[in-house]
Structures are given as structure tokens and as C-alpha cells.
């Protein structure tokens, strides 16, 4: 009887610990943005997205308010169409908000930074951001710098 009890306690402890570890791995090591209260999608067109990837953060004033849902190339207008999925809590963004692709740190990952405009009309699902600024490609920047410094 004592033996069975020890086995049962041992098994219970092991399984409980195992599921606790699974829970830790699935919730604490990844950042699952859940969009509890729903979300809306807006699109933005960029001439160059640099190293932006799906799931990259969308920040406003440095606060994460959404993420990049998809990136596609438009073969007609020859630019990149980026769909931004924004938390429905933030549904009062002016429709003349401008989007730029920024880099966190010198070699960090890239994200979409939003800068609020002054319009009274808010963005809604399916709207398009009209003012965008492409990613700064380091090579182009260095190239320009070299050309400019050569003139003097």
C-alpha cells in the first residue's frame, strides 16, 4: 500500500511538473499577441521594405500596438504592400497617420513606426496609409555619403 502511494505521488508530481513546464514554454518564452478585443487591418505601400518580415512589431510612440500580418509585392504598381494588423483597442488613429520602417538599434530587427497625423477621421479596417517612408538601406546611405564627400 505504501509503495502504491509513493508511485502515485511520484507520478502526479512528474506529470504536474511536466505540464507546468509545457505551460511555461508556450506562454513565457514566446510573445503571443492575442488581440483579445479583436483587431483591424490597414495597408501601407512602401517602395522598399528593407528587412521587414511578417510578425514584425508595429509601434506607435514606441509602444507596440500591432504586428505586420503580411507582405506582398504588387506587380502593377511595383511596390510592396504591407498589411498591418492593429489591436482594436487603438481604433482612434487619425487617417493621415504616416508609417515608416525603422530599425531598433544599429543592427536590430526592423519594425513599422507610426506617427500620428492631425485628421479627425479615424483609420478603420481596410484603410490605406497614404504617407509612408521606406526603409533606409545602409548601402544607399553610404553610397550617397561617398558621392557627396567626393565633391568637396
Amino acid at each position: 500500500m505504501q509503495q502504491t502511494r509513493a508511485v502515485e505521488i511520484g507520478t502526479g508530481a512528474f506529470v504536474a511538473l511536466g505540464f507546468a513546464a509545457l505551460f511555461f514554454l508556450t506562454t513565457q518564452t514566446t510573445n503571443i499577441q492575442s488581440f483579445d478585443d479583436g483587431y483591424y487591418d490597414v495597408t501601407a505601400r512602401f517602395e522598399n521594405i528593407g528587412g521587414l518580415k511578417p510578425r514584425s512589431p508595429v509601434n506607435m510612440a514606441g509602444v507596440r500596438i500591432g504586428r505586420v500580418e503580411s507582405i506582398e509585392f504588387d506587380p502593377v504598381q511595383l511596390d510592396a504592400v504591407v498589411v498591418l494588423r492593429i489591436d482594436a483597442n487603438y481604433d482612434q488613429l487619425p487617417d493621415d497617420t504616416d508609417a515608416s520602417i525603422l530599425t531598433s538599434g544599429l543592427l536590430g530587427s526592423q519594425y513599422v513606426g507610426l506617427q500620428a497625423g492631425g485628421s479627425d477621421i479615424y483609420l478603420e479596417d481596410g484603410s490605406e496609409l497614404l504617407f509612408t517612408q521606406s526603409a533606409i538601406v545602409l548601402e544607399n546611405l553610404i553610397g550617397k555619403f561617398l558621392v557627396n564627400s567626393g565633391d568637396e
Binding site: 508511485v7 502515485e8 507520478t11 506529470v15 511538473l17 511536466g18 518564452t29 514566446t30 510578425r55 512589431p57
Partner: protein, 254 residues
């Protein structure tokens, strides 16, 4: 000469085919074995509970070593901040499932194989058959299910403790920023990465338990035969796990 080669090839195919049939039989008997959960619980304790201390100790030190190595290499590029991401990715996707499977083969697999092999040697399995008790459903299936159920949990424990080990080395010892350690990890690890680790642990658990039960069940009924079955369990599990690891990774990355 050629006849020998053909003979060896046919022998291999025969073993391989018998192995598949044994697997099918285990699966077919599984629902009936679930009717007797007590047997399975005991095997979960045997395979999982008793491996717990080993897995936790090894997990901690593997994580700590990843923390040390990662820190000294990342520091060259001034990117110590991503140590958390580096450790979590390598533990969740590769080191956790693979090392746990190898430890599992050494700790639980050999125990299963030698136990069943000894039952074979001492004619306990034949005795069961004589009493109209199917030794596959009574002996093999609970051990197989117990092992297969324990592995994913052991892997999760290994990876979690490993991340803790990397944290212990990285943050208090090496001075990586605590916030950066966790946020870089949380931003970098996608749910797909965790799922990949879980899929690996399930596959490895099935493979390791199956090999152990098979080797024990088909052990040559002598002392030497049981010893050989135990050795083969570890060797075959290691090879199978590493091959499967490559294949799953190739599928996940493409």
C-alpha cells in the same frame, strides 16, 4: 559472397518488417490497455518520474553551458542581449528534444529493454501466454504508452530548466540585462518554434519507447542476449533520433 550479401539484406528487411508489424500490434492493443490505466500510470512513474532528477540536472547544466558559450561568442559582436533568444531557440528546438531522448534511452529505455528481456529469459512471457494473457497487451503496451507519454513532458522540463540555467549564467554571472534576456526571447521565439520542439519530443518519445520495448521483447533469452538487447536499445535509439531530428528540422525550415 553475393549470397551472403543478399542473405543479410533479406534478414534486415525481415527484421524491419517484423518491427513495423510489432508497432502496428502495439497500436492495435493500445485502446484495450487504456482500460487498465493503473499499469500505464506505474510505467509513467518508471519512465518519467524516475528520470526526473537526471533530466533536471542535465537540463540545468546544458542550459548553463549554452549560456556560457553563447555569451562568450555573442560578446564578440556586442550582441550579448540576444543571449536569451539564443539559449531558448537552441534548447527548445534542438538540445531539449535530442539530449532528452538520448538520456531517456540510457535511463528508461535500457530499464524497459532489460526488464522485458529478463521476463523473456525467465519464461514469464510464455507463462502469461499459457494463462491466456496476451504479453503484448499486458507487458509491452503499458510500457510503450508510458514511455511515449513521458517523453514530451520530460523534454518540456529539460528545456524550461535549461532556460533557467542559461539565465543563471547569463544574468547574474555575466551581467546580461534581465529585461533584455526575456524580451529578446519573447520577441524572437515564435509559436511555431515551440510547436516544432513539441512535435520532435512526441516523435522521439514514440521512437525511443518502441525501440526499447521491441528490443526487450525480442531479446535472445540468455544473459548475453539481454545485455545485447540493452546495448542495441541505446545505439538504435540514438541513430533513429538523430536521423528523425534532421528530417523534422528539414521539413520545419523549408
Amino acid at each position: 559472397m553475393i549470397r551472403d550479401i543478399i542473405g543479410a539484406l533479406v534478414g534486415f528487411l525481415r527484421t524491419f518488417g517484423a518491427f513495423q508489424l510489432f508497432f502496428m500490434r502495439l497500436l492495435a492493443e493500445s485502446p484495450r490497455a487504456l482500460m487498465r490505466p493503473r499499469l500505464i500510470v506505474y510505467q509513467i512513474f518508471n519512465a518519467g518520474g524516475l528520470s526526473l532528477v537526471l533530466i533536471m540536472t542535465c537540463g540545468f547544466f546544458v542550459g548553463a553551458v549554452v549560456g556560457l558559450q553563447g555569451h562568450s561568442n555573442l560578446a564578440r559582436f556586442g550582441t550579448e542581449d540576444i543571449l536569451g533568444l539564443f539559449a531558448a531557440m537552441s534548447l527548445i528546438k534542438e538540445l531539449g528534444p535530442v539530449i532528452t531522448a538520448l538520456l531517456f534511452a540510457g535511463r528508461a529505455g535500457t530499464a524497459l529493454a532489460s526488464e522485458i528481456g529478463l521476463m523473456r529469459t525467465t519464461d514469464q512471457l510464455s507463462a502469461m501466454e499459457m494463462m491466456a494473457v496476451d504479453p503484448v497487451s499486458r507487458v509491452a503496451v503499458p510500457r510503450f504508452l508510458g514511455g511515449a507519454f513521458s517523453m514530451p513532458l520530460l523534454v518540456a522540463i529539460f528545456s524550461s530548466i535549461g532556460i533557467l540555467g542559461a539565465w543563471c549564467v547569463g544574468v547574474p554571472l555575466m551581467g546580461v540585462d534581465n529585461g533584455a534576456f526575456w524580451t529578446q526571447m519573447q520577441d524572437g521565439v515564435a509559436r511555431a518554434d515551440v510547436v516544432e520542439g513539441i512535435i520532435k519530443s512526441i516523435v522521439f518519445g514514440l521512437a525511443a519507447s518502441l525501440v526499447a520495448v521491441w528490443e526487450g521483447y525480442n531479446a535472445i533469452p540468455t544473459a548475453e542476449g539481454v545485455g545485447r538487447a540493452t546495448t542495441r536499445t541505446v545505439v538504435i535509439t540514438a541513430v533513429v533520433v538523430l536521423v528523425f531530428d534532421f528530417m523534422i528540422t528539414a521539413v520545419a525550415i523549408s
